[in-house]
Symmetry: none
Subunit: 140 residues, 2 copies
Amino acid sequence: MKRIVLIYGAALAGLIALLKYVEYRFLVRDFSLEVYIGVIAVLFMGLGIWAGPRLTRRKVVLIDPNFVLNEAELQRLGISKREHEVLDLIAKGHSNQEIADKLFVSVNTVKTHLSNLFLKLDAARRTQAIQKAKKLRLIP
Amino acid sequence: MKRIVLIYGAALAGLIALLKYVEYRFLVRDFSLEVYIGVIAVLFMGLGIWAGPRLTRRKVVLIDPNFVLNEAELQRLGISKREHEVLDLIAKGHSNQEIADKLFVSVNTVKTHLSNLFLKLDAARRTQAIQKAKKLRLIP
DNA sequence: GCCCAAATCATCCTTTCGGGTGAGGGATGT
DNA sequence: ACATCCCTCACCCGAAAGGATGATTTGGGC
């Protein structure tokens, strides 16, 4: 962060010095102000493009705003709404019992949904189901 | 993409026109070339920062090439190299036995590593550990 | 009305996980 | 030499997860 500001400052200072030096030699006669401005604009736009992500990126992305559910894949695998809910909850680290409580159903029901999910996703464990579901963009 | 280029072009043209218009009125007398350059630099650096992500971002990120391990967090939690390996493998959906085979150690060892991990990550289940580790960028 | 998919719940049984504890060997640093 | 950390392994126990199967209910579509 501080480094970026320093680099920006140094670039600006250097450019001004360069222009000051060059101003009374060749350029003022040969090129117009528009070219000047263009060069500076391009230079600093480039710097902005380079420095932008470094200045603005957040440390941790909690929920991905770019996530779009892959409904085609969801349908292709024949995953029902309820099964998808359960899938989402195991990915968030909940146990079967917690999911049952959250959805107001019995643990057995959750287990049934999970069994069906494991078949449809060809997974042997919940962790594997999560990994595959993420790859297929069925969950964030 | 094209829109961005157009906006950039329009901004540049507009600025030049503005400067051209303003040049022979107030500014040339009141402000020096350095201020000019500074204003232009700031303006276009801002434009670069704004346009940069829009020009460079990819549509879909299959495997995140931007993943950088959060080593600070890793150290803060006191997670050892071996523990981190195990963490990575459970996130890929492997069972304890599979991990043991992969790392050429006994299942008991894997379980010990996992127990320590659960303590350090404050997790009760492997799925929860995965979820937390992802949030902390300890694993991709 | 009938059919079907989805959702619900249950029972039985096996495997996997997770918690607790102890313990030995190797590397590192004081 | 001693302390400390990491890695390793073992044993026990209980809880959670997973597999197989069958049954009931419910809401839409034909």
